[in-house]
């Protein structure tokens, strides 16, 4: 291989690595990153209803500041579920200056038969906050680990659980720097 070809291969590799660097290695924020406040935040949008996931879902507007969520993994053993997805915990990002510094996570509360954001401090069933992320084309579905139901949001912005995968809401993750 002559020098020119080597150079072309190197440049190509460099371009690939730069493109790869621009993308996220994982949507999950590690514990260290949470401590360092290097949180990978997302607008979690259901385009059918137009709602953005949060404690009080709001309608998506491009120009407005939207509620942000981030994902963590409680148990590293759950990092990979071959061909299925991963069990992630969905947190809503709260701004410190708002005074609400608690950790709010999406919980499938089977006792109350309801889905809502709860403070971690008051969660008794740990895996009620674990959500298996299933990929459907370029969107994702959230499946609860507790009862294997799927998360749905209706036209009023209320969360519920459904058994039928087809009836589940598809969510678009929009990464926000």
């Amino acid at each position: 291989m002559n020098k020119a070809k080597v150079l072309i291969v190197l440049l190509f590799s460099l371009m690939i690595s730069l493109v790869a660097e621009a993308q996220l290695s994982s949507v999950v924020t590690s514990r260290d990153q949470v401590i360092q406040k290097k949180i990978k935040t997302f607008i979690v949008l259901n385009e059918e209803s137009g709602f953005v996931m949060s404690q009080s879902p709001v309608k998506y507007k491009v120009d407005d500041e939207m509620p942000l969520c981030y994902f963590t993994i409680d148990n590293p053993a759950n990092l990979v579920l071959p061909n299925l997805g991963r069990y992630l915990v969905i947190h809503e990002l709260k701004k410190d200056e708002g005074g609400d510094q608690y950790d709010w996570v999406l919980e499938n509360n089977c006792d109350e038969k309801d889905v809502f954001f709860s403070r971690t401090k008051f969660i008794t069933v740990e895996n009620s906050t674990w959500w298996n992320v299933l990929v459907d084309n370029d969107k994702v579905l959230f499946q609860s680990m507790v009862n294997h139901g799927f998360l749905k949001i209706d036209e009023q912005g209320d969360f519920s659980m459904v058994d039928d995968r087809n009836a589940a809401s598809r969510w678009k993750l929009i990464y926000v720097y």
Binding site: Q23, L24, S26, V135, V140, I174, Y177
Partner: protein, 315 residues
């Protein structure tokens, strides 16, 4: 012609004086032709520019008026020299506002169009971690703000000549990783600032820079001249250029040398006699003087081309 002869003479005189006035020690300002401008001095009448855009994002006429006011203020003398005249090298108002198009040497008219646009590009990615069997897709929305401006100016001179000029501004801001999105307000403010700057530049054809003039050591055998030469440094620092030039001229005529020619060249340059300066500098070529002479002669030729009567200082 557009320049009035006596004003040009006064301007050149002040240009020469200007060297001494603004100089510190042996550092002086030199002036050169930056660009030829469409306003060739005299009375200027400006018709308000027509907005051909859909909306009024920037009131161009408002700051055009301010720009003209600044450029056309009467000769300073009230301690407001800097603001009084944009054309700093001459300290003279080369332009003044005409009360009507009939009384103007040049009538400016034209139009402007300022547009803004916001959109966003959406990119789809997947996690790149190879350990993940089912990478999660995510999107990035990169909003973009764009502001563009086009100002078309037409200059109509008394002899019927018509010249057009276009000022353009185009700025796009995109939110990317490590890059903040500039708000539309900020982009419009930048656009206004750029246009204001461009308007101000319409009145400035000569620019200036500082240059340090150091006299070369000259060997002189004549005792009288040798004695006189001791005061050369003080003459330069005291801005007594006419005396200094006279001294070096006598030295050069008595004992021609390239060092004496160089010093005489400096003196001619400092009084604005660029052709003579170039002639003497040639005997001892040096990069900085060649570069300065090139610019200065351009200014000299330009002034001559527009009919300025140039009074050249001799020693």
């Amino acid at each position: 012609m557009y320049f009035k002869a006596k004003e040009i003479v006064a301007a050149l005189f002040l240009l020469c004086m200007g060297h001494a006035l603004v100089g510190q020690s042996d550092v002086f300002y030199t002036f050169f032709l930056e660009k030829e401008i469409n306003l060739k001095a005299g009375g200027v009448f400006v018709h308000p520019l027509k907005n051909v855009g859909k909306e009024t994002l920037i009131d161009v006429n408002a700051f055009l008026e301010i720009s003209i006011e600044k450029a056309c203020l009467p000769l300073a003398g009230d301690g407001n020299e800097k603001a009084g005249n944009v054309n700093a090298w001459s300290q003279m108002p080369l332009f003044w506002p005409a009360t009507s198009p009939d009384k103007a040497d040049v009538v400016v008219s034209g139009s402007y169009n300022i547009e803004k646009e916001s959109d966003a590009e959406v990119f789809r990615f997947y996690e790149t971690n190879t350990a993940i069997s089912n990478p999660i897709p995510y999107f990035e929305v990169r909003p973009k703000n764009r502001v563009s401006a086009e100002v078309i100016l037409q200059y109509k001179y008394t002899d019927g000549t018509l010249v057009s000029d276009t000022l353009r501004f185009h700025e796009i801001s995109e939110r990317k990783k490590n890059t903040k999105l500039k708000s539309m307000e900020k982009l419009l403010a930048e656009c206004q600032k750029a246009l204001e700057y461009d308007f101000r530049k319409l009145y400035v054809f000569a620019d200036y820079e500082t240059a340090k003039f150091s006299l070369e050591k000259v060997k002189v055998s004549d005792k009288g001249l040798k004695e006189e030469l001791k005061s050369a440094g003080d003459l330069l620092k005291g801005r007594r250029i006419a005396e200094l030039g006279n001294l070096y001229k006598r030295i050069y005529e008595n004992e021609p040398s390239k060092e004496a020619a160089f010093c005489l060249g400096i003196c001619y340059e400092l009084v604005g006699n660029y052709p003579m300066a170039a002639k003497y500098y040639k005997q001892m070529p040096e990069f900085h003087t060649i570069a300065r002479m090139k610019k200065s002669l351009l200014l000299f030729d330009y002034l001559q081309s527009i009919g300025a009567e140039l009074k050249l200082e001799e020693f």
